[in-house]
Symmetry: D2
Subunit: 157 residues, 4 copies
């Protein structure tokens, strides 16, 4: 069924696998669901998620608790690095804040794969609000573990 060219997956197939992996992951990711995140787009090595800042996400300074901005970025990172159906976890991340997130704003997190060598990868995630203003920059390091997101649906399926 697959059309491998020079060892790479055919683009359509890779895209289908990315979408199926995202769907399967989302279905069992209670945290991402409970935080009201929406998957806007997913491609091999890429994901874009959005989330509205709710009242229960505000901290004592009346802006979005850093943990929720981080969570949005972290989920985008997770969907991007699991988009090839190979189970992958985070080994560490950093986040820098550029501006506070405010109540009812819609934040978008765009995760882009920067490097993938062996089992480890580097992903950059940019978090912006609905006006395109930069809210935070996140960098995640991934580590591929054993197993697949969708058992059996591997690259040669």
């Amino acid at each position: 069924m697959s059309t491998k060219i020079s060892g790479a997956l055919h683009s359509d197939e890779a895209q289908n696998l990315a979408e199926a992996s995202a769907k399967a992951m989302y279905a069992r990711d209670a945290a991402t669901q409970a935080l009201g995140m929406t998957i806007e787009k997913v491609r091999p090595g890429y994901a874009r998620l959005s989330m509205v800042i709710r009242p229960d996400m505000l901290n004592g300074h009346a802006s979005c608790h850093g943990g929720f901005i981080f969570s949005l970025a972290d989920s985008a990172f997770a969907f991007a690095c699991n988009s090839r159906n190979q189970a992958t976890v985070s080994s560490g991340c950093s986040i820098e804040y550029a501006a506070p997130g405010l109540l009812n704003e819609t934040l978008s997190a765009e995760a882009v794969e920067q490097s993938l060598t062996g089992r480890t990868g580097i992903y950059d995630v940019t978090v912006t609000n609905q006006a395109g203003k930069l809210i935070a920059m996140f960098r995640g390091k991934s580590y591929r573990i054993k197993g697949e997101v969708i058992a059996g649906a591997d690259a040669t399926a």
Copy 2:
């Protein structure tokens, strides 16, 4: 009422201020409350919080979503760096994961001030589970802004 010795606050007063600041912050920190966090201890430059991993905190790998481990550490960091009643925010953080957090585990985050020069500080937060196992290490950079946690309750009150 205060007993300043060599420019430093008397210890009891600093401790009272730390506790009052924590109480005031917690009361208006919807996020920390909604995540079920408990403040175990607070001192000037120090805070220890705990949180039970709930089903809605699990990710697609059936372990605690990194965002919630980060949130716990980030809250401990926030309570530690606001413990002197000077409004302080996070400018950036990093987290390294050592082991996954599992359902129903109680995580503790202990934040310790490492450096405070001018407006900026460095805080290390160690996250462990109820068995004392290391789950994550977090490092936060703080930035003091204008204002106080409890208006008027300053160092010379």
Copy 3:
């Protein structure tokens, strides 16, 4: 001499200032000189430097000591964040390694400003070898201090 439009510097002037700032900084930056770095290009918020890996830069694993890869990235970051003639220092950085640097390779570090709000900025630096292979990704946080790189050569000169 200047043509300020809507509060922004005219492009030619900003470019001239970036080049003059870089020249002045380089002249007094013994470290960057001693490491044999070359400034390939500088623009407002941008710098590209290169460096050849010398025998005295190798570590016990016969690859470039991380400190020198970091130094190259850090210098590119410094030239980028001082390119507007406002004295700016680093408050912290992170680096992730993608591949080792080898003897006699020419490394290039390209620093790009990602955010600049108030006194603080975020810069991403990508280090590659002469074949374009990714060696490391660096992220620096800048903090503007008092003073200028070239005293008197400010934005309205």
Copy 4:
């Protein structure tokens, strides 16, 4: 020759191995030598190095170029994570600066192992000057590769 107790190396042997590994690494680490670093102490999972700030280590702000403070911390990290004679490299690091380093100051970097699980570890390095003032805090992530520092001198030798 070894006296393994409950799977752990006898303390004297582990210490001897740490010292022998450090000696072997230093002998082939041109970078650490060229920067004038001295190994003050090494133990399993621990190393303390010192370095005098030379004129050729100053940047354009007349303080120590961040790359050299990083290099000192990075070398201490390398000696600590290779102290069990298992070849280990850095996968990434972060550094936060607390104060500038000045000409002729002697900086010390103390690296302490915080976590070691499977192939990966976390090490914290504190850099201080001769007066004990905090200069920088560094955190390194290690990754064990194949091979030993001293071939054949393994844990059961």
